[in-house]
Subunit: 144 residues, 2 copies
């Protein structure tokens, strides 16, 4: 995660990656196109891009599998989302609203900002929409 600023992927691509990560194993084009309600061909193109950037391994006609890099990045995306949602909930939003609203702008928030927020919240382990892992956080030796 060194040299990562969290803005490498557009919102849409990041959502695809998150979805692929959450599915675990091999994900089929149709799964993604159904989930996001877009045409399969749209998915194929985006997948090719994600593969070109090394976030997934795409074997045509057989689906995609997340790469090591993609896995790390997806974990960061999830950690960012949950930290921002938690922050919003500390600023008066209901858990649901916090989670929903975080989705709208999280894609534009730097890793360094996320790390600051994480520290200011005392490296919390639980957010309003799930646990927060700290293996991609600046405070963890593994990341240094």
């Amino acid at each position: 995660m060194r040299g990562v600023d969290g803005l490498e992927l557009s919102a849409k691509r990041a959502e695809y990656l998150k979805y692929i990560f959450n599915q675990g194993d091999v994900v089929r084009t149709t799964d993604i196109s159904t989930h996001f309600s877009v045409a399969p061909s749209t998915v194929t193109k985006t997948l090719e891009d994600l593969a070109r950037s090394g976030f997934v391994e795409h074997s045509p006609y057989h689906g995609v599998r997340i790469s090591r890099r993609g896995r790390e990045y997806a974990r960061f995306l999830i950690r960012r989302h949950r930290l921002l949602a938690l922050m919003l909930s500390r600023h008066g939003l209901s858990p649901d609203a916090a989670c929903r609203e975080a989705r709208s702008f999280e894609w534009y928030v730097n890793k360094s900002v996320v790390d600051s927020i994480c520290a200011s919240l005392g490296h919390p382990v639980m957010s309003v929409c799930g646990p927060i892992e700290h293996d991609t956080c600046c405070c963890c030796p593994a990341d240094r």
Copy 2:
């Protein structure tokens, strides 16, 4: 400001509007193109758009002047920026970093979220990069 969610303008357009608002009177195409380092024709096109949406009054060859609607909206943009910057500074960012980082994602943050943050910070009157006005805040009778 009723019916406004803060996402009406793209980041670029909102920046143009903010600049025009800050300049006060009539602003010339060249001023804007110099400020943002883009070609004058790019500015003209964007200005036409802003005029079409009612944020500015554009009299060709004579510059633009902000409209009533634009003025209100610009005030909201500034209030949003300063509240988010203040929030970031409360989460460990230096004043400079808070202001800079807020710029990168503020464009995607809803008015309702801004209002919540405003309330949670106790409707502050000063941020890290300038005063915060509350005439566009949900807490003010003028807005109801």
